[in-house]
Amino acid sequence: MKPAPAPTPDDASPGVPGFRTWRGVYLFVFACFVLVVVLLAVFSRLFA
């Protein structure tokens, strides 16, 4: 029996300017998603 493979560590550099880790990239994408949902909710209210 062999152990299950461990995922690659997320602290490797993503090579994206402004981001040192993948966690930073994921947080940025998540923040953008929240912003888009908030903007859509505001849009709905504005044009209701």
Binding site: K2, P5, P7, P14, G15, F43, F47
Partner: protein
């Protein structure tokens, strides 16, 4: 369509297919054929992932959804960015590390052969079914409105995609998808600009948006917790998360797009590209539909947008002709009255501190209800004269606009958009079906052949062609649900939850072994089939199909744990090799 449209259509479609096939004609390494070039960068991967998901029905059906029900459908995609983050952080590194060709190969290494076969079998079943819809969807609409023969449209588009997918495999798929997405973005942007330019004089984009909003077409986010509502923030977040996680994490047609590439980074950035752009893209297409609704408030709109269906039944008998004509006259009269109420409301809302605005709004909504009642009357009349008539016309709204309102050349470009989208998603499906059949079935039963690379490539080509022919045959002989995008999502939701459950157990529940998860998956899938088939007999079971993803996944995980506890095995048989 005139000769200019035909030239634009044929040059773009045949040109891209020929370029893809020619450029990748020497692809004879299994790795390149199944995973694409090792030098593929994140932009290509991102576009390929997007093109795989965006089929022709995205561009035919979704504007119709926006026209008919508003932009609330965008909530369906709310789970997608979250799912893609999870796929990037958990699924993709494991697939890359193991160097698998298919997601189900991983199941074989983590569990056992029977679980791998079950995963591959569920994928082949659901994707094989969906493949028929993907090829049928644009064909039926284009054939209806353009007067093309349905069978020749299905066979023509089917053969085109088979040729370049079989020739160049995954590399040809990614290469052609880049060009196809270029055509799609260019075409849709052109349509949007022309739509705004064709709004009546004095009516700007802002006014049009306000009208759409006042008519209830711009409710993008619905916080309701009513389980009967199909699209709410909660169904989108939870059901959509499970649907997207399953689709992007376990559906080979997507996994195959991002497991190749130069490095892990390229796949991750390609997926993050989609996480950022997908919701804005879907919002834009839905908004186009909502603006089409406003456009047709000021333009002579047909009472029923599938005009061919309407005319066929109108001309079937003299009684039908009189009945249908009366409905058309009523619709025209009411539409003219509605235009007046809209203009009155616009004038009222621009008056400072106008107390007339609420009354004008009420009058406008009342006029809209009256027009909608005539639309319903038209559908009922169609059904009365022919119970088998196609009474849903929202899929025909955008294509009707293209043919009626756009200049020649641009019509050809927009028809090319539809066909490009169909080819792009179809190619990924065939590529994935062929790969899964080769890797997870054929090589399993012919282990000696696994070492003969040339034979593997030949087998993959034959299986890809086989699935292409199956999809064409299915599209030719099967009848499909009227709303095509929902048909695809419903088929996916029936299978995806259980599939995701198997993978979540594999990734996160190391104690659970193959036999336990296999039994759990079989029972959970049976449960979902039962829920779907019995939904009309028991009202309590009539829930939004997005919930099937969550229920199937939860059932599979919980039953897996339960069976494992019952089996009394506390260690995992992991077979990495």
């Amino acid at each position: 369509m005139n000769p200019l449209d035909w030239i634009v259509l044929l040059v773009t479609m045949v040109g891209i297919a020929a370029y893809g096939a020619w450029h990748t004609r020497h692809t004879d390494h299994l790795d390149t054929y199944l995973k694409g070039s090792k030098t593929t960068r994140w932009g290509t991967i991102g576009i390929s992932v997007m093109a795989t998901q965006a089929s022709a029905i995205t561009f035919l059906s979704i504007p119709g959804q926006g026209f008919e029900s508003g932009i609330g459908f965008v909530q369906n995609y709310f789970g997608l960015p979250l799912a893609l983050i999870i796929v990037c952080a958990v699924f993709l590194p494991i697939y890359r590390q193991l160097g698998v060709y298919t997601a189900y190969e991983y199941l074989g290494r983590r569990f056992d052969a029977k679980t791998r076969l079950l995963g591959a079998g569920l994928f082949l079943l659901q994707r094989g079914l969906a493949a028929g819809v993907t090829i049928y969807a644009p064909a039926i609409i284009l054939a209806t409105v353009l007067g093309w023969r349905l069978d020749l449209t299905i066979i023509g588009t089917g053969l085109l995609v088979i040729i370049y997918t079989v020739t160049g495999g995954s590399e040809a798929v990614s290469l052609t998808q880049k060009w196809q997405m270029g055509i799609i973005f260019g075409g849709m942007l052109t349509a949007f600009v022309i739509l705004v330019a064709r709004l009546p004089p004095g009516l700007g984009l802002g006014d049009a948006t306000h009208i759409a909003g006042a008519m209830g077409k711009l409710q993008a986010v619905d916080f309701s917790i009513n389980p009967d509502k199909r699209y709410t923030l909660w169904t989108g977040l939870f059901g959509g998360l499970f649907l997207s996680l399953s689709y992007f994490g376990t559906d080979q047609s997507q996994v195959q797009r991002y497991i190749g590439g130069a490095a892990l980074r390229e796949g991750r950035l390609g997926l993050m590209f989609n996480a950022l752009l997908k919701i804005p893209m879907q919002f834009s297409i839905l908004l186009l539909g909502a603006l089409l609704f406003v456009f047709y408030q000021f333009q002579p709109a047909p009472v029923f947008f599938n005009r061919v269906e309407w005319q066929q039944h109108a001309s079937a008998s003299r009684a039908n002709a009189i009945l249908f004509r009366a409905i058309e006259v009523k619709h025209t009269t009411l539409q003219a009255a509605q235009q007046d109420t809209i203009r009155a409301w616009l004038a009222a809302r621009k008056q400072p501190d106008s107390a007339a605005e609420p009354a004008a709004r009420a009058a406008m909504l009342q006029a809209e209800s009256a027009t909608e009642a005539v639309h319903a009357e038209a559908r009922a009349a169609l059904e009365a004269v022919d119970p088998l008539a196609k009474t849903r016309d929202s899929d025909y709204v955008f294509i009707g606009f293209i043919l009626d309102q756009l200049p020649h050349g641009v019509i050809g470009l927009l028809i090319a958009v539809m066909i490009a989208a169909a080819l792009g998603s179809k190619a990924s499906e065939l590529n994935a079906l062929g790969t899964t059949t080769t890797i997870d079935l054929w090589r399993q039963f012919r282990p000696l052949a696994a070492h003969d690379e040339a034979r593997n490539v030949r087998a993959a080509k034959w299986f890809t062609a086989f699935w292409g022919v199956v999809a064409i045959a299915f599209a030719l002989f099967a009848g499909f649900a009227e709303n095509l995008i929902e048909a695809i999502n419903i088929i996916g939701s029936i299978f995806y939850g259980v599939m995701l459950g198997i993978f979540l157990v594999a990734f996160f529940l190391k104690r659970v072994g193959g036999t336990a998860v296999f039994c759990a998956a079989v029972i959970s899938q049976t449960l979902i089939f039962a829920l779907y088939l019995l939904r009309h007999h028991f009202p309590v079971l009539d829930i939004s199909y997005l919930w099937y993803n969550l229920i199937g996944c939860a059932a599979c995980v919980l039953l897996g744990l339960l069976f494992q506890a019952g089996l009394g095995i506390t260690t995992t048989e992991v077979n990495i090799g």
